[in-house]
Symmetry: C2
Subunit: 208 residues, 2 copies
């Protein structure tokens, strides 16, 4: 589950999502995180993504295990208010499970419960987390080194910080506003893509 | 799926639900319809109901197919903003599917799509549907007679109207405020139970 994860911003329009038709190759995973949308609306989004050529095998849907299973998404992202990892893993062992965590203890638990990766953040100051103190690179390092499943770092990561984040042990990073609020999304996507791949090549980590 | 369906009121507390410990025998099905609650909160409710002795085999959960499947509920209630009946039926053929409909055309479609029953209403003036014209007993009759799956009538049904509702072809009825807002819930539950069974006995309909 390593690589660059793009997370939708919670208010995605079709027009915004349509950009992914030509840009999705820069992302390893696309998270549909639209908490206020109904199941029917989420299904429309998944159908829309599939319709513009995005394989649902690279899509991770937030919270809704049913949609993930029924539409053939690669996985589901679970938060503290979602169904428990253990139950989902037991019932749907083929589904990849990401767990959103905010501490080292939660990271341990996620791994123990059977999560396939964790999403940890926010690392740096982030527009979407105004007024909440970022966790910082050292906390990221402690978390990433304490578990064997991949840590995906999220929150306020600028392209020039990609190396630092990966150097701290994260196996990937997630983009939200860095993409959706960028005046030049394509350039933004490319910047992260290139830095990620550059780091990978330098470190000879070619295994998934 | 015939019988008396109790539907939670969307703001159920544990204290309210705890009443069902001694009263659930008066209901054939209990619908957990708590649209504003998270998956984790809904799971707590299901665990709570199981803990007070209510078999989840008589519980129908609103919208969340994943919870229904994972917790072993008998079924799921789907509305216009839920996942489509066809998809759910295909993926989870053992799950009972109720579809909430508001017209004869929607009733036909629900049956064609594979729903196991429909919830149709509101039939009479109802506290929870202030200012919206009730559909009335004749519309209920047209709907119930146009499909072969059971029609469960909902909305403003008083005990003295149970006969009329069943006479119109409904195979059951749902209670919301008639139970939750009753000053005497036990008596309310008994009143519907007795009238339903009286009608059943008179009409010799003993098959499920």
């Amino acid at each position: 589950m390593k690589g660059i994860h793009l997370i939708t911003n919670g208010k995605s329009t079709k027009k915004e999502l349509a950009q992914l038709r030509t840009m999705h190759h820069y992302f390893d995973y696309i998270h549909v995180r639209e908490k206020s949308k109904t199941a029917a609306e989420l299904m429309q989004i998944l159908d829309f993504l599939a319709g513009i050529g995005i394989p649902l095998s690279k899509v991770i849907i937030n919270d809704r295990v049913d949609l993930a299973v029924m539409k053939g998404c690669t996985g589901v992202q679970l938060a503290y208010n979602s169904l428990p990892v253990t139950l989902v893993k037991k019932q749907f062992p083929d589904l990849k499970i990401g767990k959103s965590v905010h501490s080292i203890e939660e990271a341990w638990k996620a791994e123990k419960d059977g999560a396939d990766f964790i999403l940890y953040g926010h690392i740096y100051h982030s527009k979407s987390k105004q007024g909440v103190k970022p966790r910082g690179i050292q906390a990221l390092q402690r978390v990433a080194k304490s578990i064997s499943i991949p840590t995906i770092a999220v929150g306020g990561i600028h392209p020039e910080q990609v190396e630092e984040v990966l150097g701290a042990g994260a196996k990937g990073l997630a983009m939200i506003s860095a993409f959706w609020e960028s005046p030049a999304p394509l350039q933004a996507a490319k910047a992260y893509y290139e830095r990620f791949n550059h780091w990978e090549e330098e470190h000879f980590e070619r295994t998934l």
